[in-house]
Subunit: 467 residues, 3 copies
C-alpha cells in the first residue's frame, strides 16, 4: 500500500530531487517535542488491548468523520460521560471503520492508518468490509506479542525524544516511574497550565486550591499564586524533564496589566465573579506572566490559540471533551500579541512558538512577526492543517517572509501512538517535496536544500525546544 | 478551440491518469440541482431570439467585465429600470463583446463561452473584432432551427435533472405547464423564501400578505405565517417537484429564539418598525424555522451567505438587481451557525448544504464543521469561485478534513443555459485533475479515484439533494 | 548562480512555453511606477559608499531577518535615533550578512541579492562566511568605477521610467536638479500626502502649516487646506512629473462627509483634539477629497492600506520608522471603500489602484470590486507578497474574476536600487510561468499568452499610470 515515492511530486525532475533529499532524512530519529500521548503507556508498558482501542476509540480524527456521516459514537465505543452502555465488542467497532473506509479517501487519517497498518503490523491489503476481520485478527495477534508493547514500539519507531503534556495538577507519577524504571527511552512532559490560568476552565477555583496544596504556596493571593506556578514549573523541569510550556487559549489575546490590576482580576476569578471579558484579559495576562517566568527558568512557550472547544453541546454533554467537536475560528495575532511583545518580544533568550488554526495568518501575520521579533518562532502546521496540503501551504506562505529558520521543525501533536512515525514521515516527505520544487525551479541549490531538509526533520526541533 | 486535454495537468503521469478518470465521467448525465435558469424556456419552448440575448444581455459575468473597463451597460442592451432607451441592435452588442474578448483571457467566462460556441453552435474560430459578424451570423442561424429550441438543447446537453429557483410567491405555472406538456425533461423548482423571510427585502409586508393569500393562511400572525410557509413548501414539493430550499442571506447568522421573542420580531417586521439588527436576528431565526420544517418535510436546505448585494447604488438605481455589483464579504460560520446547530446539527436525516464566497472558511470552518456535524455538507465552489483555480483550491482545502463524502458534487448556479454543459465539464475535469494528482503522488489508488470521480460528477448530487 | 530557467516550472511542457514567453519580455525596458528610491542619487550621481551601505544598512528586508535571529541592529550599522554609536566598519556589517546567509534560503531577498551580485557586480560564488571578504572587495572595487555611478546603473538597468515618492512638503529639489542637469534618465515623483492628511502623523499641525507656506494658501481653513493640496499636486505634476498619488493608511476606510462635517474634523485635527475614531474618518474623507481632485487633475490614485506601522516600540524608539517592524493586518475593502465608490466608482476617467497586504482579499474582495467598478484596478502583489509564491497566488486568485486587464503590471516598491532589475525579472518570470501553465493546460492559446506577457511586463503599467 505504501509507495516509496508517496507524497513526492510526479514531475520526474522534482521527484528525483525529492528522493535524494528524503534519503538524507527518512531514517533520522524522531524528535516529538509536542503531543498528547499517555505517559502511563511507557510507565506500565502494558499491551494495547485490541485494534479498536488502539485506532478508533481514542482517535477523534477517526470517529469524527464517521460521526459526520451518521455513525453513532456509541456504536464506536466512545465512552459516555454518564457511564451508559456503548459498544464493547472491538470487532464490531472495527467493522464500522472498515465499512466506511471510503470516507477517509484523500485525508491524512487514511494515510496515517495505512502507514501504521503496513509498517507496524505488516498489513498488505486495503481495509474494507471484506478485509475487516482478517486485518483485525492480524493486528490483534500482534498486540499480544512483546515486540508490540509500548516501549518496544517506541524504540522501533526510532523516537529519540517524546514530550507529553500535563496539567500543573498532575503529579507526574508516570514520568517519575519511567525514569525510575531504568528504561532508556526519553519521555518528558510539558507544562500545560490551562486548568489553573483560565478562570472559565471547569473547576478553576478547586484547581487553584489544589495548585496551592501541591506547591505548598498560598494560592489565595496573587503573589502566592504566581509563586505556586513558578514552583510547579520547576517541578516539571526537574521531575518531568520539561523544556516547554503549552497554552491552549481560545484567542491570542495577551495583556500586560499592572500588578494591582492583575491581582484584582485574580481575586474576581477566585470568587467566581469574573466576567467573560475579564476572563479573557486574565488569560492574556497569564501568557505574559508565563513569558516572564520563562525568562527566568528558560522554558520555551507554545501558544496554541483559535479553537472553539466543545462546539457541539449535545456531544459534549454525552461524551465530554476532545470528541471531534472543536472548530477553528479566525484568529488575530498582530494586535492580540502586542502587549506581550511590547514586554518581551525583543528578548533573544526567550522562545515563544506560535501556532495557528487560521491559515490566513501565515503570510499576513505570523511570518512577518516571526521574521522580525527575536523571541518569536512559528510552530508547524497544526491539527486540521497537519496534512500534506496543509503543510505545503504552510511552507509556501511562511518561507518567503520568515525563512526556514524561524520555524521549528515538526510537531505530531497526536494522541495516537502509532501515528507518530506516519506523521513525521509525511512531514519529511512534504518538506522534501517543497524543497525539491525550489531546487528544480533554481530557487535554491541542492546542497543547501539537503541541509535545510535535515534541519526541518531533526535539528530545528531540538534547538527550538532546547532538547 | 477546445483541446481534449484542457484543464488536465501537463505532467504526463498526471495527465494520463486524468484522461482515464475523465473517460469514466465525461459522458455522465448532468444533475443540476441548483441554478437560476428560467422555467418558461422549457414551458414555452420558444427560440432564443439572438446571440446577444442569449450570451450577453442576461449574463452578469459577461457584462460586468466589460463594464469594469468602461463599456456602458446601455450599450450592451442591459434594460434600464426606467425603461429608457438602450442598445437594441444585437449585432452591435455582440461586437462589443468581440472587440473586448481579450479582457476575458484566463477567466471561466471565456472558457464557458468558447465551449458553448464550439460544442453547441459549431464555431471553430476565435471571437474577435474581425470574426464577430461571422460568428454572430452562425449562432443566429442556428437559433432559428428546431434543434436549438430549449427542450432540444436540454436533451442534447444530456441533462437528467435541472432545478430552477422560485420565490414562495411564484405560482409555479411554468413548472406546471412543463409537467402537463408531456415532455419528459425533468425540471424542478427550489423554494427560495428570501422575499418573505427577510424583513429588509423590497416589499416584505406586501410579500407576506401575498403569501397569506396564496396559502389561505392568516400571515398576520406568527403561527399563521409559519403555517403559510409550510403550506407553500408542500406546494413546491407537489407541484414543482422541489427537494430543496435555498437561502441567500447577507451573513450566516442563525438564531434560536423563544416563540414569544420570534413572534415579537415578526410583528415588528410586519409593522416596519424592525431595526437592522433585529432584522438580522429574524432572518437567522427563519433559518432555524426552515430547518425545523425540513425535519418534517424532508426538504434539503441550502445556505448561500456572504454577498453584499447591490454594492453600486448608481448601477442599482439605473439597472436594478443582479447586474454584476454583488461583492463577497468575509463570512464567519462557527459562531453564526451555532444556534441552528445546537438545535438540529446532530440530526442524521437533515441535510444542510453550506456555501461560501469566503474561501478562507473552507479549511478553517466549513470542512471542520461538515467533518463533524451529521446534518452538514459543504456545497461546491460558488459563483466567483466556480472556476478552475477556485475548484482546485476548494478540493485542496476541504478534502483533508471533510473528505469527499461531506461534499455534494457540483452546482452550476447559472442563469446562462448554454453554460450548463460547459460548467459541468469544467468541474469534472478539475476534479479529475485533482484526483490524478493524488493518484500520481500515491495518496489514493486509481480504482478508488475512479469511484470518487463518478461520485463527484453524478452520485453525490443525486444523494445529497434526494433526487 | 543564476540559472536561465530559474522560476520556470520544471515540467518540460510548461518550461518550454515559459521560455518562449520570457524571450518576448525579458529584455523589455523597466517601467517602475511606484517605489522609494532616493532621487538625490540621480541628482548628485555620487558613488555608493560601500557594499554594506548599498545592500544591508538601508534594506529592512535584509536586516529584519538578521534581527529576528538575534543579530543586534546596532551591529548592522542601522543608525540610532539618538545618534549613539553603531557599527561603522562596513566589512564587519557585511560579514554578519554573509555568516547568516542560510537564513535567507527560500526568500526573495536571497534571490534579489544573488541577482544583483552576479548581474551587476559579476560575483560568481555564493556568499558565506568564507567568501564574505572576497565578495565585499569585489563589489567595493566596482563601486569606485564610473560605470557603477547611479546614472550609469540606471541606464544599464534599462529603466525607461522610475517614480520616487515624496511628501507634499518636499521641495522636489532633486527632481528639479535631475531635469536641469540635462541627463535624459526619466525620474518622476509621486505625491504622498500622508504627513499632511493623517492627523496622527508625527507633527501633523506643523506639517499643515508648512503646507500653507509652500503653497501660499491659508491652511488654517478647510477651503485653504484643500486649495493648498491642489496647489501642491499641480506643483508635483509640473516640477516632478508626477502622474500619481500614493496613500499609506492603516485601513481602507473612506468617508464622504458633508463639507461642514469635514471642516469640523479638520479644525479638531488642527487643534489636536481629534479622537482616534475621528482621525480614521478624516483620513477616509481625505481619500475621497483626493479622488475628487484626481477627477480634475488626472493623477492616478494608489491606496496602500493594511500595515500596522512601528509595531515594536523598542525598535521604533531606538531606530525610528521603516526598520522591519511594520506588520500586515486583516483588511476589509467592501464596506470600507463604499463611501468613496458611491461617489466616484463609476468614473471611467479616474484610476484608483488598490493594494493589499491581506491576500484573503484578492479573490474575495479586490477582484470582484475591480471586475465591476470602472474606476478600480488591482495593484500587484505588494511588500511581503512581492515574491514568487506571492505573485503566483496573486495571479491564481485575481485573474479568474478580474482578468489580466484590471491589473496594472508590476511595481517594485523598493528602496534598494540594485534590486530593481532583480524584482522586475522575478515578476516577469513568475508571470510567464503562470501563463505557461494556462497554455499547457489549454486554458489560453500561446499567441494570446505572449500578448498578455508583454502587457504585464510593460504596457499595462504605462497605461495605468498614464506614462
Amino acid at each position: 500500500m505504501l509507495h516509496p515515492d508517496r507524497l513526492f511530486p510526479s514531475d520526474p525532475t522534482q521527484r528525483d530531487i525529492a528522493r535524494r533529499l528524503y534519503a538524507e532524512v527518512g531514517h533520522l530519529p524522531i524528535i516529538s517535542p509536542h503531543g498528547h500521548t499517555d505517559p502511563s503507556w511507557f510507565a506500565k508498558n502494558e499491551a494495547f488491548p485490541n485494534p479498536a482501542a488502539l485506532f478508533v476509540v481514542p482517535d477523534h480524527y477517526a470517529f469524527r468523520m464517521l460521526y459526520s456521516q451518521g455513525v453513532a459514537l456509541e456504536s464506536l465505543g466512545v465512552p459516555r460521560t454518564d457511564g451508559g452502555a456503548v459498544e464493547s465488542d472491538p470487532r464490531k467497532i472495527w467493522r464500522q471503520l472498515a465499512q466506511n473506509w471510503h470516507l477517509f479517501r484523500g485525508t491524512p487519517t487514511r494515510m496515517w492508518l495505512d502507514h501504521a497498518f503496513e509498517t507496524v503490523f505488516g498489513v498488505t491489503e486495503r481495509l474494507s468490509g471484506a478485509s475487516a476481520d482478517r486485518i483485525f485478527d492480524q493486528i490483534d495477534a500482534c498486540l499480544q506479542k512483546p515486540e508490540f508493547l509500548p516501549r518496544a514500539l517506541f524504540e522501533r519507531f526510532n523516537i529519540e525524544l517524546l514530550a507529553t503534556t500535563e496539567s500543573p495538577l498532575d503529579t507526574l507519577e508516570h514520568h517519575r516511574a519511567i525514569r525510575e524504571s531504568g528504561w532508556k527511552g526519553r519521555v518528558i512532559t510539558a507544562f500545560r497550565p490551562d486548568p489553573v490560568v483560565d478562570p472559565e476552565f471547569e473547576g478553576f477555583q478547586a484547581n487553584v486550591e489544589r495548585l496551592g496544596a501541591l506547591s505548598g504556596e498560598n494560592t489565595g493571593t496573587w503573589a502566592g499564586y504566581l509563586a505556586a506556578l513558578r514552583n510547579r514549573r520547576q517541578y516539571f523541569k526537574e521531575v518531568g524533564g520539561a523544556t516547554s510550556t503549552d497554552h491552549g487559549h481560545a484567542t491570542a489575546t495577551t495583556a500586560d496589566l499592572s500588578d494591582a490590576d492583575a491581582e484584582r482580576l485574580f481575586e474576581k476569578a477566585l470568587r467566581g465573579t469574573i466576567t467573560a471579558a475579564e476572563a479573557e484579559i486574565f488569560r492574556g495576562q497569564m501568557l505574559t506572566e508565563m513569558a516572564k517566568m520563562s525568562l527566568d527558568d528558560g522554558l520555551v512557550m507554545q501558544i496554541h490559540p483559535g479553537s472553539f472547544r466543545n462546539h457541539n453541546p449535545g456531544v459534549f454533554e454525552r461524551f465530554g471533551r476532545d470528541k471531534g467537536a472543536d472548530i477553528p475560528t479566525g484568529t488575530e495575532y498582530v494586535r492580540a500579541l502586542k502587549p506581550l511583545l511590547d514586554r518581551v518580544g525583543n528578548e533573544r533568550d526567550l522562545t515563544i512558538i506560535l501556532f495557528t488554526l487560521d491559515e490566513t495568518s501565515y503570510a499576513r501575520e505570523l511570518a512577518p512577526l516571526a521574521g522580525h521579533y527575536p523571541a518569536l518562532r512559528v510552530g508547524p502546521a497544526w491539527w486540521f492543517h497537519d496534512s500534506p496540503e496543509g503543510m505545503r501551504r504552510y511552507r509556501e506562505m511562511i518561507t518567503e517572509t520568515a525563512g526556514f529558520y524561524n520555524t521549528v521543525g515538526f510537531n505530531d501533536d497526536t494522541r495516537a501512538f502509532c501515528s507518530i512515525p506516519a506523521r513525521h514521515d509525511v512531514a519529511r516527505r512534504v518538506d522534501c517535496a517543497f524543497l525539491a520544487r525550489l531546487v528544480a525551479e533554481h530557487r535554491l541549490e541542492e546542497d543547501e536544500a539537503a541541509e535545510v531538509a535535515v534541519d526541518l526533520a531533526y535539528t530545528l526541533a531540538k534547538k527550538a525546544y532546547k532538547l
